[in-house]
């Protein structure tokens, strides 16, 4: 049986293990995050949400997913 390769990413400050070659869109989908209500940063760069289906994640990628909370 072929072993599934895994990679480590940093997701919202936490080291997380995911399957290799997964796209950012697949990750967001797996996490059940409402895409319309968040912004995503990959390695300190803001990601265009229309392009996440083509973005494959790499080992050591740093991802921040943020949303609005009350506060001023």
């Amino acid at each position: 049986m072929k072993k599934i390769k895994k990679i480590k990413i940093k997701l919202n400050g936490k080291i997380t293990t995911i399957i290799d070659k997964i796209t950012l869109a697949e990750l967001i989908n797996d996490l059940k995050i409402p895409l319309k209500k968040v912004a995503i940063e990959l390695n300190k760069e803001i990601i265009d949400k229309n392009k996440i289906r083509k973005l494959k994640l790499k080992n050591n990628d740093v991802i921040e997913i943020v949303h609005f909370i009350g506060g001023g």
Binding site: V38, E41, H67
Partner: protein, 231 residues
């Protein structure tokens, strides 16, 4: 969250400031702000509360624009963890950058008329001087400066931070301000809903008073009834 939404409704506020924070990945059932406060009914104003550098503030607001597509933002760059005063050099630099990127920037600043002018020249969309340190509840400490800023600018002038009770909002409006930004004075009041209502009426009263043109001050008494016909 529902209490917050209720207080906002009672206060009659048009704008609510929001902060950009990490999504809770492990507990996705946590309620979202947008589920309680409809961004179509009240203007969300993303802000950089808690940022101490220009870089952090810029990063936050660029992310905010990505979330909602809003160009109207509130910039706040703090300089001191104890008094939470704004770091005005960084604030001015950030205002310039954000304006060039197409943002409409409402700027939290100190109550210095010269700095307020520089922010205006840098393209700020609104001037938001503090009344007193954030969360201090001291009310407007320098009315003269606020009046000077009012005289020199046609931009929206909003008192941001330091108000403690409803009458402080009335004073701000009587000085000619266009609005007030209130959090702690309502949120930490013993009866937040009642205080939210009090602020609503205080703002209306202050605005009407300002627009009505107050009488001149004199140090001598003037009879308020006619002397003619006295028996």
């Amino acid at each position: 969250m529902s209490e917050c939404a209720k207080a906002i409704k009672l206060s009659g506020a048009d704008i609510v400031t929001v902060a950009v924070r990490r999504v809770n990945i492990s507990d996705k059932n946590k309620p979202l702000l947008m589920d309680y406060i409809d961004p179509k009914k009240i203007t969300y104003l993303p802000n950089t509360a808690g940022c101490f550098t220009s870089d952090d503030a810029l990063r936050t607001l660029r992310l905010a624009r990505e979330i909602g597509g809003w160009k109207l933002v509130k910039l706040e760059v703090l300089g001191d963890k104890k008094n939470l005063f704004p770091e005005m050099i960084e604030t001015l630099k950030s205002t310039e950058v954000l304006t060039k990127e197409g943002f409409k920037v409402m700027v939290y600043c100190n109550d210095d008329p010269l700095m307020a002018k520089r922010l205006e020249n840098a393209g700020a969309s609104a001037i938001m001087p503090l009344a007193a340190p954030i969360g201090s509840g001291l009310g407007i400490l320098n009315k003269v400066n606020i009046k000077i800023i009012r005289k020199q600018t046609k931009l929206p002038l909003i008192i941001d931070a330091g108000l403690g009770q409803a009458s402080d909002a009335t004073i701000a409006m009587e000085l000619g301000c266009d609005g007030v930004l209130v959090n702690t004075a309502i949120a930490k009041a013993k009866k937040p809903f009642e205080m939210a209502k009090a602020f609503k009426y205080a703002v209306i009263a202050g605005r009407q008073s300002f627009c009505s043109g107050r009488i001149n001050k004199t140090i001598m008494g003037k009879p308020s009834s006619p002397i003619k016909g006295t028996i």
